[in-house]
């Protein structure tokens, strides 16, 4: 899968604000795509694209908050920076509770916005790499045999080989062979590493 560069997606119904943001972000070398409404953005939304969302909190039709809700429903990880007007604090609080990374009040200093966008992009990167790692763990886990999965389960519960052998009614030697296969297939260099990977794999998302 060919990775597109991380993009700043700007959604604002006010054309002047939209265009000025595009120019500003372009001037700091950030790829920008702008949308005049929440619906327009949603129509082309690709969850695999890296980047962040700069969203006007109030717009006719679907509001910024509603768009955020839609994205959450789709398990989007894209960080959202809300642009709010004067007196929109209650809405901003609501947005933060719904998982927005930040908000900024109009009018703003360019650096403040850029800092927030950079933080959001950084977070997106982290999220995406974490996501990629989890996917790898899950892929590796899917290559385990049923018996190996049972051994993995019991090992990560912290049980000793002798206990596991008793539980599975096999010899301790057999447990040791399975355990070595699991470690190899999962690419774990220690028990602690293996446990972390299992926890990661069981995470939501």
């Amino acid at each position: 899968m060919k990775e597109k560069p991380a993009t700043v997606f700007v959604v604002d119904d006010d054309e002047a604000v939209r265009t000025s943001l595009r120019l500003l972000l372009k001037s700091v070398g950030l790829p920008v795509e702008t949308f005049a409404s929440a619906q327009e953005f949603l129509d082309q939304f690709d969850p695999d694209r890296a980047g962040c969302l700069v969203l006007d909190i109030r717009m006719p039709g679907m509001s910024g908050l509603e768009l955020q809700q839609h994205l959450n429903d789709r398990h989007s990880i894209m960080p959202v920076v809300f642009i709010t007007g004067h007196g929109d604090v209650p809405m901003a609080v609501e947005a933060m509770q719904a998982g927005a990374v930040d908000f900024i009040q109009k009018p703003f200093r360019d650096q403040d916005l850029i800092d927030r966008i950079n933080r959001a992009l950084e977070k997106d990167r982290e999220m995406r790499s974490q996501l990629r790692e989890r996917d790898e763990i899950r892929r590796r886990m899917s290559q385990l045999t049923p018996r190996e999965r049972e051994v993995l389960e019991l090992v990560t519960q912290g049980k000793a080989n002798k206990v596991i052998a008793g539980d599975l009614n096999v010899s301790q030697r057999t447990v040791e062979i399975h355990r070595a296969r699991v470690m190899e297939k999962m690419g774990a260099n220690s028990l602690a590493h293996l446990v972390r990977m299992v926890i990661e794999a069981h995470r939501e998302g």
Partner: protein
């Protein structure tokens, strides 16, 4: 003297006494007749012969009843017999007027005195008869004269009153009796002063009367004073008096004519009262009236005209020219004259307000109403009133200013409610400007240099957005600033679209869609656009609140302008909010009634008054399916006046 025939018949034995008696009888002026107890004539004097036309010979021995007409003739013997039998005297010893008959049958009045000759039996009687024809005639003439005079007196429509020196009433005519309420016979003989004058006047009138007699006052003078009727009523009498003098030239009494002028006095008093009333009323109302005979006078002004204009009543009414030059405010002269000419030339009733300038330089507002009327001698005149309306104008002005202040306050308060939306509206261009400027800075600072297209775009946009922000502020200022109301002719659709600048941000802030539905082109309306926009903004603000409160999924407010069934332009704000409950509807428009926590309760009240001033109205109806539609109407203007 010839010998008496009866003497011869008595046998010639004529005594001296008889001759003497005869001579006396014949010399007597009155007729003397002697009759016996049977009524037969014994002696008939010369005078009797002359009076009755009979000779003595013709009547002696005959019954005296022949000398009288019926019925006395038949009764005569009865009288004598009755007297002889009873001794009762009916005629004897008394004079009496009776009717006698001459030989030729003619009748004449006589005075008859009868005496009984004593000492003879049977008795004999002597009668003295005096012809009273002349006296009768004179008395009759006098009586007729007196009756005629009385008739004249009675016919007179004035009271005629004669008083003697004591003030006793000696004569009063029918009219006098009528005025005083007394029958004539009861009034004559009474004291005038005690009977017919009110107690409070008695002394004065009596002393005046006394002065007539001692010559210190002329009785010819005219006097007015009250009299007292029998019923106790006072009547005002105008008196003219003359003195009555006796044959020696001394004042013996007065004769007065008196005219009852009570009603006249009452009428004058009533007139005086009504004139005073009119003067008072004019003074209180500060309203004068005038009459001007066309083309320019003479004029007649009421007292209040001078009071209003501040001119001297002694100078009298001004001519039209002088009035315009001296009284009418220079700026209002043309208007006044054109109204005057329309009145005079086209008979269009005068109804004009203008200012006048008083001699002291102060100016007053007046309202003049006038019309053309047919005056005396068929001349046309203008009849009108001049009303000083300065106080009213001042009150109107103050009320208007108070209303303006209130309107202004309400406008600010509405704007306060709209503030969040407006802040956003101004923030948008400011944000864009900041972004462009900062982008420019970065682009110019970049080592690879800036893209010229981007620079151009940013610069263009910076100025465009600055103008946009300025426009919002300008409209906001024009909306909230203290201002004089002014009427313009505007397109209703334009009125709405201009307003959206304020209303839309607020709606958007609350995630409400403000939808404008224009129908066919509408006729223009004459209105103060800012005031009407204030009303509309207020209605939209209310609709937004109602929509938020209702929390309905249909977050939409529809603005509509259309022609209603009466041909007026109706602008409506339709929401799907909570609607208007009956108890709210009942109080709607009462100042300070509000359902909002932070409301002033003035919005609808002021909107109502604004619309009333525009000849429109504010009303509401339920939106089909829930919510309220509040609408107002404005009179449409003809297309041509656009």
């Amino acid at each position: 003297m010839k010998p008496a025939p009866e003497a011869a018949r008595s046998g010639g034995a004529t005594s001296i006494a008889e001759l003497e008696l005869r001579a006396v009888l014949d010399a007597a002026v009155d007729a003397v007749i002697i009759i016996d107890s049977g009524g037969m004539i014994e002696t008939f004097s010369r005078a009797a012969e002359r009076l009755f036309g009979y000779s003595s010979a013709e009547v002696v021995g005959r019954n005296a009843s022949m000398l009288m007409p019926e019925p006395f003739r038949s009764q005569h013997d009865g009288y004598i017999n009755h007297h002889i039998r009873t001794g009762e005297k009916r005629i004897i010893g008394k004079g009496r007027e009776v009717v006698a008959q001459r030989r030729d049958g003619s009748l004449f009045p006589v005075s008859l005195a009868v005496g009984r000759i004593e000492g003879v039996d049977p008795p004999r009687f002597v009668g003295f008869i005096h012809d009273i024809t002349d006296r009768k005639r004179v008395v009759e003439a006098l009586r007729r004269e007196r009756d005629r005079a009385q008739a004249y007196l009675d016919l007179a429509e004035v009271m005629l009153l004669a008083l003697d020196a004591n003030g006793t009433i000696s004569l009063v005519n029918r009219k006098g009796c009528e005025i005083l309420g007394w029958p004539e016979d009861e009034l004559v003989g009474r004291n005038w002063f005690d009977t017919c004058l009110p107690a409070d006047l008695r002394a004065d009138v009596r002393s005046m009367f006394a002065r007539f007699f001692d010559g210190t006052a002329s009785p010819a003078q005219y006097a007015e004073h009250d009299v007292l009727t029998r019923g106790g009523e006072r009547k005002l009498i105008a008196w003219r008096n003359v003195l009555l003098r006796d044959e020696r030239g001394l004042v013996s009494g007065t004769l007065s004519s008196g005219e009852d002028i009570t009603e006249q006095r009452n009428a004058i008093e009533a007139l005086r009262n009504s004139e005073q009333l009119l003067r008072d009323a004019q003074s209180i109302a500060n309203l004068g009236n005038y009459e001007t005979t066309l083309p320019d006078g003479p004029a007649d002004w009421s007292a209040q005209m001078y009071a209003i204009l501040g001119t001297d009543p002694a100078d009298g009414p001004l001519t039209l020219k002088a009035y315009v030059e001296r009284c009418v405010h220079p700026d209002d002269r043309a208007r006044f004259m054109s109204a005057w000419h329309r009145l005079v030339d086209e008979r269009e009733p005068l109804d004009v307000e203008y200012r006048i300038v008083r001699p002291d330089g102060s100016s007053h507002y007046v309202h003049s109403i006038g019309r053309i009327a047919q005056g005396d001698h068929g001349l046309l005149q203008v009849v009108g009133t001049l009303h000083d309306i300065t106080d009213r104008k001042r009150a109107e002005e103050e009320s208007r200013q108070a209303q303006d202040r209130l309107t202004q306050f309400s406008r600010l308060s509405t704007m306060g409610e709209m503030a969040a939306g407006l802040a956003h509206e101004i923030n948008q261009p400011l944000t864009a400007i900041a972004n462009y400027a900062q982008a420019l800075q970065r682009m110019l600072a970049a080592p690879q240099g800036a893209d010229p297209d981007d620079v151009t775009l940013a610069l263009e946009q910076i100025s465009a957005q600055a103008l946009r922000a300025g426009e919002v502020i300008r409209r906001l200022r024009s909306f909230v600033k203290n201002r004089e109301a002014k009427t313009e002719i505007v397109d209703p659709a334009r009125l709405i679209s201009d307003l959206l600048v304020f209303a839309e941000p607020d709606a958007r802030l609350n995630d409400i869609r403000l939808q404008v539905e224009h129908g066919d082109a509408l006729p223009p309306v004459a209105c103060d656009p800012v005031q009407i926009q204030q009303v509309l903004l207020n209605l939209i603000r209310n609709a937004i609140d109602a929509t938020i409160e209702a929390g309905t999924p249909s977050r939409r407010i529809v603005l509509r302008a259309r022609l209603d069934d009466d041909g007026a332009v109706e602008v409506s704000v339709e929401d799907r909010g909570t609607g208007i409950s009956p108890e709210v509807a009942e109080n709607l428009g009462n100042p300070f009634f509000t359902t909002k926590a932070a409301g002033t309760g003035l919005g609808i009240a002021i909107s109502r008054s604004i619309l009333r001033a525009h000849g429109g109205r504010l009303a509401h109806r339920a939106t089909p399916g829930g919510g309220a539609t509040v609408f107002f109407t404005l009179p449409a203007m003809p297309w041509s006046e656009k």
